[in-house]
Symmetry: C2
Subunit: 434 residues, 2 copies
Amino acid sequence: MRLLTKDLNDHVGEDVRVEGWLHKKRLLGGLTFINLRDRGGIVQAVIKDKSEVDKLKGLHIGTVLALEGKVVSESRAPGGIELHDTKIEIMVPVTQEPPVEIDKPLSHRPENLDTLFEHRSIGLRNVSEAKVFLVRSVLLKLIRQFLYDHDFVEIQTPKLVANAAEGGAEVFKLDYFGKQASLAQSPQLYKQVMVGVFERVFEIGPAFRAEPSATTRHVSEVTMLDIEMAFIKDHDDVLNMVQDLLYYVLTKVWEQQADTLRELKAPELVLKTPFPRYSMQNIHELYGEANKKDMSGEIDLTPDEERWICEYAKEHDGCEAVFATDLPKSKMKFYHMSKDDNSARSADLLFRGLELATVPQREHRYDVLTEQMKGSGISSDDPAYKFYLEAFKHGLPPHGGCGFGVDRLVEKTIGLGNIKEAILFPRDINRLTP
Amino acid sequence: MRLLTKDLNDHVGEDVRVEGWLHKKRLLGGLTFINLRDRGGIVQAVIKDKSEVDKLKGLHIGTVLALEGKVVSESRAPGGIELHDTKIEIMVPVTQEPPVEIDKPLSHRPENLDTLFEHRSIGLRNVSEAKVFLVRSVLLKLIRQFLYDHDFVEIQTPKLVANAAEGGAEVFKLDYFGKQASLAQSPQLYKQVMVGVFERVFEIGPAFRAEPSATTRHVSEVTMLDIEMAFIKDHDDVLNMVQDLLYYVLTKVWEQQADTLRELKAPELVLKTPFPRYSMQNIHELYGEANKKDMSGEIDLTPDEERWICEYAKEHDGCEAVFATDLPKSKMKFYHMSKDDNSARSADLLFRGLELATVPQREHRYDVLTEQMKGSGISSDDPAYKFYLEAFKHGLPPHGGCGFGVDRLVEKTIGLGNIKEAILFPRDINRLTP
């Protein structure tokens, strides 16, 4: 029976069988040492018999093997054990060298990102590379756990839509049985409608943006966590929920995966609740003063301000996550609620220099909403918005939520340099495969 | 402070505040009775004061309200309690009647499905209708729980792809920065590549089919559960895993949600492991005999055979889930493994008359795979398949898995008549909104 390498410590002295991939092979003092990788990790095996060594002739990394041998304590071996008297069974032979190195820590990978993505199927077999996506799957599990615990219902909304929620040019269009359809940029309209049913809903799914930019921040397909909650007293209720979610997820992932995160050289977490909250205006002033710059012409935060305020808050407030509040009204979406003449009831959640989410209260009053739609150039008679407005006409309570970038969260949790490194098979303006 | 209606039983004799939607209003013996709906359920309130009753004048179902009153035991009220001496605060007034009835059980809804979907935002406020999607979210949670417990890693693969896994006409195409892209029909190629990394992976996400049919079975956007597992001994390993998953999910949902399922008139579960397994040929013979029909010309199972074999197995084997094994080789996909000259190592999982999943072993041998691709008219030099074949060239162990229809599972668990009733906002050839 097959055992996993991670369980071999419980079988010292026993004869066992493991199955996995040839991960490394070397000759040392007349002995052949091989590393075998399976989903549990890596084990080292010592091969003495020439007839066994011969079985590996002409075979390369990636060859699928079964090994039978005795588990022996060996402090110099990875994991403290190794296999002796090893017999080899070749399950799937590989007769070519791998196109990329798969036995280096992340920080030592020699290839540039393009080479890496070109051979992604193989590069991910690097144990460190794979751990990025183990952390990702743990983060997603923790997100769901928090939301279940807070009475949120999971929903799936359509990605083929008649209209993009926010309009704009960055929408993929396609032919839908003779009609024009768009790929959803977000579940915005649908999730708002659904608070009329469940009060609290969430969705984790793909969102599509025809971003014509090639940067470390832009991809055309992202994984979004969308949250929406009703019967809020005020905007603070929403900020607190999103804050508590991020705090839970990050502290738990460090509880459960500290070794993995340190192996990936993830920065240690500096976080506490409540997250510091600075108004946009306040950030412009603080940053301007500290950097001797005149920020009075700026509306949005510049990327450098986003980076700076997180550093500032880390130092002054002991927290790397910050809410930039009172976002400018001039940049407000039609479905946000305004606060006063200049600002919206909306805040950006920044973490380690990057915006993870925009967290607004929604405009739930039918008359004000249709007025704001008009201001955005959308007619309230547009049939694509009929289902949306109907929900407001028949009663939606005060509500708010956010679209939260899952890929960005993974990137910043681990401290990767590029959002694409947090995505298995990223899509950008130049890349549609693999 | 707001309480949820479901928690009021713990507050008999106390003055409480609830917030929710006006769900029903009637006059009885000079008193006004209203039902208030929140995410916890429904509570009945008695309004005596004329000044309070007057606040509701001209207001309709859907009006968002806060009620303050005393919780009183009352065996005739839903849930055994009601609110007395109720004061009303109007939070969001609604001045029009709802476009669809929302106070009927599912089986009594008067509207046809088209009307229902036209006003989906409001129709879902029907408490029974909403419970379909509560059950759906519980099913998804249970699926993930089983897969986490069996060492599967959650992945997200791109929906924008250069090629559809299976080719064919039923693919949505779109312009991708000047190149042609397709919407993924399934994560097939990606999940197979990923077993080379994690051995066991799963994804729950949308899949797109440009189905030009308008039936109770066809929609153009579905939610698929994709599973893939490596280092299997044989095809049975895969069948057993999928069987155990379905058994776990269905028995648990009945443990956790029996009341809800009975309220929705879901058929009682008749299930046991191992699920009966009948070869395709065997089903043709059994069905032909029982129904005095000549099935010798049939390759696939007919819909009536799918229905019949599930009934047969329920009666003879005490199990409503059946594997139809040894699917015909002539219908095999290039990435399936053949069994002999006539059949593939593939089985359909049928449940209550509907195919939930096709469960094959994959062809993992590079040479055989490229041969089979050629047979399907796909060149192994096609750049869109490069990443896929590279994974095999560098060693993929024996593996298998399935694409499992989540919408179909919801449909059949509850006993709905149409897949669209299991989807919040279904998409078909005629429907792109809401």
